[in-house]
Amino acid sequence: MVLSSSQFQILRAAMDRVVPADTDQGAWEAGCGDFLIRLLEDDLVDRELYRSGLDSLDKEANELYQNSFDKLTSDEQDDLLTSVEVGSVFTRWSVFPGLFFRTLVKNTMEGYYGSSRNGGNRDGLAWQMIGFEVTG
């Protein structure tokens, strides 16, 4: 596996804050996880950035909230991700927090709004949501 099961759980929670579920599906339900796993398996993104970044994100959650990242409330997750985005972290990261976060956001968007054939945007749900209609 390219990610451990705990990394997988953190990834799921983080992606679902990047594109949260509301009246339309969130990132995970749309297949963004599958999309990213394919990128990781095909060596199209940096595995170490994800492995280390997800571990660090969880460590950061434990340091600040004494809980695993995926167990935090949505507001706590958003606050934590906002800090990571600007590089304001309290634990030692071996990758740049901002780089990890920007990569996570970029890949989540690519999965969510890209072609279904790549794993995300399941059944074209994101295109239906925004009104990108493919007629021919």
């Binding site: 990128l39 958003d78 989540t108 925004i130 990108f132």
Partner: protein
């Protein structure tokens, strides 16, 4: 391995090479048309929004292969990077039969008459290599008309800023809601407009159907073969003549010369990787501005020690493309109609005659946007890049956004150039192209001027929020790459003469954007094609 002798060899089956092969073959000359890539077809087209010529994050839908074809890119800070074909800085043109014309949006602009006379109209900005073309608009006009009719353009009458011309063979693409808003706004502003001319069928023509108005035009192969490129017009004509042999998967490695330095033919690696040497009376290079320059430099020999046509160190210089600018606005009602290709109305009001500005550019509405392309390129700074607010914005903005964009007539710099890498080689063991330098900074002033015009146009059209992004100085080449084998009378500061023949080589011609002295304030493909007709007819006239 040695092959039969041909009357002519054309290297590259794209916009220029396809036309050169057709003109020569139909005149009875035997032609070997070499194409490094493969056929580009809709059947093989997965329409991947991350792997196409509009958005190539992880690859392309055409050649060249991501493996074995690197280039070296030197960024404006002087940092060198090895880049693959889909990566920033590479400046890829589709490799394959038709090249970019198989996947382009097909805007069919003639250059403005003053685009050929930039230096004498405006003077030469210090440090730039701005120059007049050695030919005029009138020299090219009959060949523009041939492209419009023989390749096939759909459009309306010319804007008042352009000379009169014969009507196009097909009516304009249907007017869209966005086009109507912008046309009305331009009228109120007193700006001249015209329907955007497109190299695609608006009605059934030449045995192929009308455009189906799909949402995947620019960057993708056409699902109904309504897009008119060289792959479905002049290349089939060349083959039908019985005088042209098309060889795909054939990568030229050098232009060969005899002991006096005279061009004798071409060596290439065929699709099996076998080196083949072919000879001909005439050689026409049409590999695009980067690879044509590279091939000339790779062809150094004792008689041409710095490369062919490069006695004065001019091959590869003046690399240019198009700086784009524009603006995005949110309309009170939905602007999205999904009617492809998308560009509907343009203003040519600001290509010339702008106080204090050298030249200018064209503005028009945009192609139907892939959602990801919109998200990556059009999000204003005040919208977060993630979270609920971003998702809400996408739901509102995608269908309410109206975009106006266009290329500016770049001010070239001789320091922006193609050279050979000293250490990086391709899969055939040949030094790759190294791209360095930036466009001249005067270009930024023009882009800023045009950006404000785009905002004014959107405001008049009724957009509420309007935003845009400043242009930064960088290397400009890309799909509109041009300039590396500049046309001119003086062999000390140009590479080809006014007939696009390489100085000092009476049987070597160039038929791609390399020869453009400047690249116009418009998409350049119609000019590349018109020059290819002119150059090929010129070859025949002297043969």
């Amino acid at each position: 391995m040695s092959s039969p002798r041909y009357d002519s060899i054309v290297v590259g089956a794209g916009a220029g090479g396809g036309i050169a092969a057709c003109v020569l073959a139909e005149a009875g000359k035997s032609v070997l048309l070499l194409e490094k890539g493969d056929f580009i077809t809709y059947a093989d087209e997965p329409r991947d929004h991350l792997r196409n010529h509009r958005l190539s994050t992880y690859g392309h839908n055409t050649g060249p292969s991501l493996v074995g074809n690197p280039r070296v890119y030197v960024d404006p800070d002087g940092v060198e990077r090895v880049v693959r074909p889909h990566e920033g800085g590479y400046s890829a043109i589709a490799s394959g039969v038709g090249s970019g014309t198989a996947v382009y949006g097909g805007m069919a602009w003639r250059f403005h008459p003053l685009d050929f006379e930039m230096a004498s109209t405006y003077g030469v900005p210090p440090g730039s290599s701005l120059a007049d073309w050695p030919i005029s608009y009138d020299d090219l006009a009959p060949f523009y008309e041939r492209v419009e009719w023989e390749i096939g353009v759909a459009g309306g009458p010319p804007a008042s800023k352009m000379p009169p011309r014969r009507e196009y063979p097909m009516p304009r693409m249907p007017e869209t809601k966005k086009g109507r808003w912008l046309a009305d706004a331009a009228n109120r502003l007193g700006w001249s407009t015209q329907a955007v001319p497109i190299l695609a069928n608006s009605v059934d023509r030449a045995g192929r159907p009308a455009c189906s108005h799909c949402q995947h035009c620019v960057g993708f192969a056409c699902p109904v073969d309504a897009k008119n490129g060289t792959q479905n017009t002049v290349v089939p004509r060349a083959l039908a003549s019985g005088n042209c042999k098309l060889e795909i998967g054939a990568a030229a490695t050098s232009v060969t010369t005899d002991s006096t330095g005279r061009v004798t033919g071409v060596t290439y690696l065929n699709s099996y990787g076998v080196q083949v040497e072919v000879t001909s009376e005439i050689v026409v290079l049409a590999c695009g501005a980067v690879e044509t320059a590279r091939l000339l430099l790779l062809s150094a020999s004792p008689a041409n020690p710095r490369g062919i046509g490069n006695a004065y160190d001019m091959v590869g210089r003046n690399l240019q493309g198009h700086v784009y600018t524009g603006a995005t606005g949110i309309m009170p009602e939905q602007a999205y109609d999904g009617i492809g290709p998308g560009p509907n109305i343009a203003t040519l009001e600001f290509n010339h005659g702008n106080e204090g500005i050298v030249g200018g550019g064209m503005l028009c509405d945009e192609f139907v946007a892939m959602p990801l392309h919109f998200l990556l390129n059009d999000r204003p700074a005040w919208i977060p890049s993630w979270g609920k607010a971003h998702k809400d914005w996408m739901r509102m903005a995608y269908r309410h956004a109206l975009q106006v964009r266009g290329p500016i007539h770049e001010i070239p710099s001789s320091a922006s150039r193609v050279t050979l890498s000293s250490d990086i080689k391709d899969s055939n063991g040949l030094p790759v192209a190294r791209l360095s330098g930036t466009t001249h900074r005067e270009s930024l002033k023009i882009a800023e001027f045009m950006r404000r015009k785009a905002e004014i146009w959107l405001k008049e059209a009724g957009a509420r929020e309007i935003w845009s992004f400043p242009t930064t100085l960088g290397l400009s080449a890309g799909q509109h790459q041009a300039g590396t084998c500049r046309m001119g009378h003086d062999r000390t500061n140009s590479v080809v003469d006014e007939s696009c023949r390489v100085h000092g080589h009476d049987n070597l011609f160039i038929a791609d954007g390399s020869v453009h002295v400047t690249n116009g304030g418009f998409n350049p493909v119609l000019t590349i094609m018109a020059l290819a007709f002119r150059t090929s007819e010129g070859i025949l006239n002297r043969w």
